[in-house]
Amino acid sequence: MLELREVEAYYGPVQALHGVSLEVGEGRIVAVLGANGAGKTTTLRAISNTVRRSGAILFAGSPIRRGGPEKVARRGIAHVPEGRGTFAELSVWENLRLGAYTRRGSVKADVERVLSYFPWIDDRRHQQAGTLSGGEQQMLALARAFVQQPRLLLLDEPSLGLAPVLVTEIFRIIRELNEREGLTVLVVEQNAHLALQVAHEAYVLEVGRVALSGPSAELRAHESVRRSYLGY
C-alpha cells in the first residue's frame, strides 16, 4: 500500500533522512523505531508532505507528488503528528468534524462507529478540546483520524507523555481498528517494547537510515535491538 524508495529529507540545509526505503502492506501495522533524532518523525513528515524531501513515495501504486499536506490528506492518508494536532481552541465535536473535512456525503455512520470506540466523546461534545486530559486528547486525535476513513494511518509517538495504563489502552484500540476495520497503520514509537507487540513488522532507523527491518518477532529476539531498545 505504501512504499518509500530512497527517500531523503531536509530541514533547510540539514539532511535528516539519507535514503530510507520501507514498505507497508495493506492491512498491516508497521512500526518505525529508533532513538531520538533517528529520523522517525521525519519519515512520517516526508509522507505527509510537511518536510522537504526527494525520492519516490508510492501510495496504492501511484506516486505522491511533492506539494502541500492537504493533497496527501485528500488521498486518504491521516497523519496524527507529534503533539496530536488537535485544535485546542475548538470543541471536541468540531475537532471531529474537521476529521471529516475531506469526506463528501453523510458521515453519520462513520461517526457512530467512531463513538463506539470512544464512547466518552459523545458526552463531551461541546467541551473545549484544550481542556481535555492528555490521554483524552490523544484519543480525540485518533478518533478524528478515524473519522477521516483513511486508507493509511500515520501515528507519531502516540505514547508520548501518557501514563502506561493509557498507552496500553491506546495501542489496544489501534490493534482493534486494524483487526476489525482493516486499517493500515504506520506507527512511529520510542516505546519499542509495546510497538513490537502490536505491530506486524518493524523498521529500525539510525541516523536517517534503515538499520534493521523484519517481522516483529524476529526483531524482538534480535541481539542489538534487545540491547539498544528493549533494555535487556
Partner: protein, 337 residues
C-alpha cells in the same frame, strides 16, 4: 476495558466558575455601559440622539474593524490598506450606478467584486510576503494603500461625487428624538452582514475550515484543509465587509471622495484594539462603543470639538494598548517575546 482517566463532569463548583466568568469585569463594564446609555437616553433627548447616531456610525466602524480582525486572526497581518480598499469598492459601486444600475443592484454587485478583489490581493501581494518579517508585510500593505489611493484618484479624480441615498432622507421622530432612516438602515445592514458572517463561521464546513486554518494552519493542512485557499477567502470576506463599511460611510457622509475612509480606518483600528485584535465580537462591540463614546464626548465635553475627534480616537487606541493591550475580549498578550 481499562478505566481511562477522564476529566470531571461539570459539577456545582464548575457552574460557579461559569457564573464568575460571566461576571468578568468586561461583561460588568458592558452591562454598566448599556445601563448608562439607556438611562441617559431616557433622561435627555440630545443624549438619545447622540447615542443612536453613535450606534449607527459605530456599526460602520465595527464592520471595518471586523474586517481587520478577520485578517489579523488568519494571517497576523494588519492590513493598512483595508480602508482604501473599502473606498475603492465604493467607487466601483458609484461607477456601476453611473452606468445605469439601481443602487441595490450595484450594492450586491460591488460586494461580489470586493470579494474577488480581496482574494486576488491576498494571492498576488500578500502570499509572497506573508511569512516574512512584520516590516515587510506592513510595507506591502502601505504600498497597497498608496497604489489604491492613486488608482482611484487617477480614474475618478479627487473631486466630490454623489451617490443616491440608499435609505431615503426620511427622519422619524420618536418622542423628541430624531432618528433617520439612514441610521436605522445602516445599523440593519451592518448587523445583517456581521450576522451572516457569524453563521458562516460557526455553522458551515467552510467556516470551520477557515477557523481551523486561522488557528493552526499546520494541523489544518493535515486534515485536508486547503489553508492558502482559506486565507484568500478570508481576505475576500474582509473586503466584502469593507465594501459594506465604505458604502454605509458614503451614505452617512452624503459625499464620495478618495479620503472617504481614512478617518474611518483610524476609528476601526481603535475599535479593533479596544475589542481585542483577536476577537471578532470585540471588534463589533468596540466599534459600537467607540461610536457612541465619541459622539457623547463630542457633545458634552466642550474641549473636544469636531477637530479633536481623530486625536481622541488616537488617545483611546494608545490608552488601550498601554493599559490592557489585549483589549476587552482578548486573551493573548500583545508583546510576544
Amino acid at each position: 476495558m481499562a478505566t481511562v482517566e477522564t476529566s470531571r463532569q461539570p459539577t456545582l463548583a464548575d457552574r460557579g466558575r461559569l457564573l464568575r466568568g460571566a461576571l468578568r469585569p468586561v461583561n460588568l463594564f458592558l452591562l454598566a455601559a448599556a445601563v448608562f446609555l439607556v438611562v441617559g437616553s431616557l433622561d435627555s433627548e440630545i443624549f438619545a440622539q447622540q447615542t443612536v447616531a453613535g450606534l449607527s456610525q459605530g456599526a460602520v466602524y465595527g464592520s471595518l474593524a471586523l474586517a481587520l480582525v478577520l485578517i489579523y486572526r488568519a494571517t497576523e497581518v494588519i492590513n493598512f490598506a483595508q480602508g482604501e480598499l473599502a473606498m475603492a469598492t465604493t467607487y466601483v459601486a458609484y461607477q456601476l450606478i453611473q452606468w445605469g444600475l439601481a443602487y441595490w443592484a450595484a450594492f450586491f454587485a460591488t460586494l461580489a467584486i470586493a470579494f474577488v478583489l480581496g482574494t486576488l490581493i491576498q494571492l498576488i501581494l500578500i502570499r509572497p510576503v506573508q511569512h516574512k518579517s512584520v516590516i515587510a508585510v506592513v510595507i506591502v500593505t502601505v504600498g497597497l494603500f498608496i497604489l489604491i489611493d492613486g488608482v482611484v484618484t487617477w480614474k475618478w479624480g479627487a473631486d466630490i461625487k454623489f451617490m443616491p441615498a440608499p435609505f431615503g432622507q426620511q427622519v422619524y421622530h420618536w418622542g423628541g428624538v430624531a432618528v433617520s432612516r439612514q441610521d436605522i438602515g445602516t445599523l440593519l445592514v451592518t448587523v445583517l452582514s456581521v450576522g451572516l458572517l457569524w453563521v458562516l463561521f460557526q455553522f458551515t464546513k467552510l467556516g470551520l475550515g477557515m477557523r481551523a486554518a486561522a488557528l493552526r494552519p499546520a494541523a489544518a493542512a493535515l486534515v485536508g484543509v486547503r489553508v492558502n485557499r482559506m486565507l484568500a477567502i478570508g481576505w475576500g470576506l474582509a473586503a466584502v465587509l469593507g465594501a459594506v463599511a465604505g458604502l454605509m460611510t458614503e451614505a452617512n457622509q452624503f459625499v464620495l471622495q478618495p479620503s472617504l475612509m481614512q478617518a474611518v480606518l483610524l476609528y476601526a483600528f481603535s475599535a479593533a484594539v479596544l475589542g481585542g485584535l483577536e476577537s471578532p465580537a470585540g471588534a463589533v462591540v468596540g466599534g459600537l462603543l467607540l461610536g457612541v463614546f465619541l459622539n457623547l464626548v463630542g457633545q458634552y465635553v466642550h474641549f473636544v470639538t469636531p477637530e479633536l475627534r481623530l486625536p481622541f480616537a488616537f488617545a483611546v487606541l494608545l490608552g488601550v494598548l498601554l493599559i490592557k493591550p489585549s483589549g476587552l475580549f482578548g486573551r493573548r498578550t500583545v508583546r510576544k517575546v
